[in-house]
């Protein structure tokens, strides 16, 4: 089955060219558009068309997020991540969640947005770290999968934290 890289005709690498990704995404959608079909008048959209558009959009989402992009690359290489957890990571995330909820409970919007900002900064750091673990044009080594696994875990925790913080900010406004 074709995966997101195949669907969007993107070289399966961790570092992707954003503008190329956008271009392919839009071109593929445009090709499918009823007004581009040979028949006139343009055919009514069908379920099959919606399914194709859906697959293209899903692939685009998957490649846009470095977390899911990394997961996809590992799957392509037939690597699975160990479920080994880091108690230090869990403890750190717990502290951050606690600080966030504390800020939410006293309705301190600027403290909440500081928590979200700090998590976003960390997220960006982890994204760059990921890039170094996926050598261009080479396979990921087993040793790297352990480190990648922990980074992906942290990214998932951070996603949840940021999501929670942003929802709280909306409520506070």
């Amino acid at each position: 089955m074709p995966d997101a890289f195949d669907v969007l005709h993107i070289e399966p690498q961790f570092v992707v060219d954003r503008s190329e990704l956008e271009r392919h995404h839009r071109a593929l959608l445009a090709e499918l558009h009823p007004s581009r079909q040979a028949t006139a008048p343009a055919p009514a959209p069908t379920d099959a068309l919606f399914a194709k558009q859906g697959a293209i959009n899903a692939a685009y989402q998957q490649l846009s997020d470095p977390l899911t992009r990394a997961e996809l690359l590992l799957t392509r290489q037939g690597l699975s991540l160990s479920s080994a957890q880091s108690p230090e990571l869990v403890a750190r995330i717990f502290e951050q969640r606690q600080a966030l909820e504390q800020a939410v409970s006293i309705r301190d919007a600027s403290a909440v947005s500081n928590c979200v900002g700090a998590s976003r900064a960390r997220q960006a750091q982890l994204h760059s770290a990921l890039a170094t673990h996926f050598p261009q044009g080479a396979a990921v080594t087993l040793r790297q999968t352990a480190e990648i696994g922990l980074i992906l875990q942290e990214l998932r925790y951070l996603n949840k934290l940021i999501q929670r913080g942003e929802q709280a900010l909306d409520d506070l406004e």
Binding site: Q85, P87, L89, V90, A91, I93, F94, R97, Q98, E101, L152, Q153, R156, Y157, N159, K160, L161, R164
Partner: protein, 135 residues
């Protein structure tokens, strides 16, 4: 998704939310997380001299099912011996709360939390005993 009455009840009135002193030798702390869903959970127990859990507290940052599962476990283990508390299984939690399949990991998390809390308490007690023994 529709939550069961019991999940809603534990969320609107969570039992035993709070914190026990991590450094108290009578207190065991379990801190667990589920990277797949991003939830984190802390469950603590204070054990009396007879080996019974006299108090249990939790703090969970996660979805309603995770909160309900940890709340339920604190309720179940309070007043129990460590052995009885260690036999709390995720299947029983899931059944009691009527958790849907996609939320089963929440009950697994709660089981891991109580396991860790008990292990932490035992570790502390063993270390204390070793300290007291004449060298």
């Amino acid at each position: 998704m529709k939550y069961s009455e019991k999940i809603l009840d534990h969320n609107s009135a969570p039992r035993n939310v709070g914190t026990l002193d991590v450094n108290d030798p009578q207190v065991g702390t379990g801190l667990v997380g589920s990277p797949a869903c991003g939830d984190v959970m802390r469950l603590q127990i204070r054990v009396d001299d007879e080996g019974r859990i006299e108090a249990a507290r939790f703090k969970t940052f996660g979805c309603g099912s995770a909160i309900a599962a940890s709340s339920l476990v604190t309720e179940w283990v309070t007043g129990k011996s460590l052995e009885a508390a260690a036999s709390v299984k995720n299947e029983a939690i899931a059944e009691e709360l009527n958790l849907p399949p996609v939320k089963l990991h929440c009950s697994v998390l709660a089981e891991q939390a109580i396991e860790q809390a008990i292990a932490d308490y035992r570790r502390k007690q063993a270390a204390r005993k070793a300290d007291q023994e004449p060298r």
